[in-house]
Every structure is written in structure tokens, then in C-alpha cells.
Symmetry: C2
Subunit: 175 residues, 2 copies
DNA sequence: GAGATATGATTGACACGTCAATGAGATGGA
DNA sequence: TCCATCTCATTGACGTGTCAATCATATCTC
């Protein structure tokens, strides 16, 4: 009786279990704490905020080490206005440059300055070490495997593949 | 050979594996996306931000439904100045009140207004449904169990228990 | 090629978070 | 009692994030 939904195709109408809610809260709290710890350490040791690092990582991995503003926004999944504000601040600090785009006069091409590239280079190793220390060192290979599986499951739940033949979805999400 | 550290007490000096870094990024990205989705929905459906909700949840669960400002900050793990700013905004919107504390003239006692309590009450069910829909419905009981284990492991790694007899730690963390 | 529309990017207003400084009251020792 | 010191809470400055509005250029259609 406790599970509520029993028939195979039944819509799961039961309320969320208290344990599930507790795990949700633990997930949010723990990841927030990890972000806070690593973000503070990154800023203090390297002068770069996590946002700076994300922008510079995308640029340093880009083809030709430069990206159109909107490509950069897509690469790191930011709103364009957020990126525009942030690039303005980073430009003011001399970390990045914005040049006119040769193929589209509306657009801008963003690239690291020499100083920015050097700062990013120096930030990488300490940041990796911090992730290892506070996150990776904690978990066993089995736990990594389980976490990988969980995250893939959550991602495919958030972004269900558009079925090739959209006849009968067994997900029960719609309706 | 692949694991690098073999001797039982050896300090793990190997670099983080690329797979571990990928899982770290997936963890950060996925939780950020979940927070964004749930936060947007909460705000649009109820007019409360996730921060509002957190404050109001702590107040509604508190003994006597009121808390000293610093107790509230501790309960939700916020800096006091952040809380002070946020309470100022919430007070302006009529969600909470600050009264003088009878036992300590420095302090303030925070409580929900009638309107605030009613807004929180109305926000609860939709928010729980959203967490269920986007998070809880995705995972199997086995995945919940694994996630619970992983989060507990991460927490105890972040906050190692001060050993009763602090003689020889086998953690290998220090020096 | 002229006008409607779409797109790339920026801006302004405002909510939010952090840090350092401050004010105001409690506390404890001479 | 008087003063140093601690704690509670707030404030101001500034960096950050979101939303709606804007501007300029590109593109599409006739």
C-alpha cells in the first residue's frame, strides 16, 4: 500500500518521500559548500573568481583561442547579458579583449590578453588540486561510478531525447 | 599500475583522473541547472525567491515560529550580513518582521508576518512537486541510496570528526 | 533596394552576496 | 565603577546575476 502507484503504467501520484527530500537538500547544501570552498580558495590564491575561470577556460579551449560572444555564452551556458556584463568587468581588469568580428559587424570576438592567459595558466594547477582535495579524494571508484550514473540519469531526465518515432512515450511525464 | 598509490598508508600524490574532473563538472553543472529551473519556477509561481523560501522555511520550523537573527543565520548557514540585507528586503515586502529582543537589547527577533506565513504556505506544495518532478522522479531507490552514501561521504570529508583520541590519523590529509 | 523582421550584443535598473567598517549593547577584570 | 573587549546586528561599497529595453547590423521578402 505504501507505494501508491502499483499498476505498471500508472502515473506516479504519490508524494515525495521524506528521505528523498532530505537527499535533495543534502545535495544542494553539499554542492553549495563545495562551490563556496573552492570559489573562495580560487579567488584568494589566484585573483580569479569562478566565473572568470569558467570564461577563461572556455576561451583557452576554443579553436584559435577566441570566440564570438554568443558562442562563448553558449559554451558556458550563460545568458548573453550576464556574459556582456562580466566581459566588461574582465576587460577593465585587462584579462580579456573584445575585437570587432571580421565577418559580422554586429559581433565581437573575445580573446584572452597575454596577462589573462598567464593568470589562467597559473590558476589551473591549484584549482585542480583543490578539486582533488575536497572532492575527488573523498570518493571511491565505485562511488564515482554511481555518481556518474546518477548525473547521467538526471541529465537525461532534464533533457529527454526527442524520440525518433514520437509515438508512445513510456515516461508518463506528459498529460 | 594505474592507481599510482599502492602501499597501504601512502599519500595519494597522483593527479586527478580526467574522468573524475568530468564528473565534478557534471555535478556542478547539473545541480546548477536544477537550482535554476526550480528557482525560476518557484519565483514565477509563488513570488518567492529560493532565498526567501529558505528563510521562511527556517522560521516556520523554529520553536515559537521566531528566531534571533544570528540563530536564523546559523540555521540556514548564511553570513549575518547577507541575512541582514535579505531581511531588510523581505521586511520591505511585508513578509517578515523584526522585533526587539526582550532578553538582549542588541538583538532582533525575526518572525513571519501573517501575509508572509500565508505566502509560504501556498508556496510549499508547488515547490515540493517541482523537486519531485525534476529530481526525485528521475532516480531509482538504488540511486537514492547511492547518492545518500556519496553525500554523507563528501560531508564527512569536508567536516572530519575531531577524533576522541587524536593520536594517529590515517587520513593522510595533513602534510 | 526598401521596409519589415531577426539576430548579436550592450545597457540600465534592480535584486543579490561578500567584505570591511561601524554602532550599540553586553561582559568581565582592575 | 570604569574601561577594554566581545558579540549582535546593520551599513556601505562594490562585484555579480536577471530581466526588459535598446541599438546596430544582417537577412528576408516583395
Amino acid at each position: 500500500m505504501r507505494d501508491g502507484a502499483r499498476a505498471t503504467g500508472a502515473v506516479a501520484r504519490r508524494r515525495m518521500a521524506v528521505g528523498e527530500l532530505a537527499i535533495w537538500r543534502a545535495l544542494i547544501d553539499t554542492t553549495a559548500e563545495l562551490r563556496r570552498i573552492l570559489g573562495t580558495q580560487l579567488l584568494q590564491e589566484t585573483g580569479l573568481s569562478p566565473a572568470d575561470y569558467q570564461v577563461m577556460l572556455a576561451l583557452s579551449e576554443a579553436n584559435g583561442r577566441r570566440l564570438r560572444s554568443s558562442e562563448l555564452a553558449a559554451a558556458i551556458d550563460w545568458e548573453r547579458s550576464r556574459l556582456s556584463h562580466h566581459l566588461g568587468r574582465m576587460e577593465g581588469r585587462g584579462l580579456i579583449r573584445r575585437d570587432d568580428c571580421p565577418t559580422d559587424n554586429r559581433g565581437a570576438e573575445v580573446s584572452l590578453t597575454g596577462e589573462g592567459a598567464e593568470m589562467f595558466r597559473r590558476a589551473t594547477a591549484p584549482h585542480m588540486r583543490a578539486i582533488k582535495k575536497h572532492f575527488a579524494d573523498a570518493l571511491t571508484p565505485e562511488q564515482f561510478e554511481a555518481l556518474d550514473d546518477i548525473l547521467r540519469t538526471l541529465q537525461s531526465h532534464l533533457h529527454p531525447e526527442p524520440a525518433v518515432a514520437p509515438a508512445a512515450s513510456t515516461k508518463g511525464e506528459s498529460s
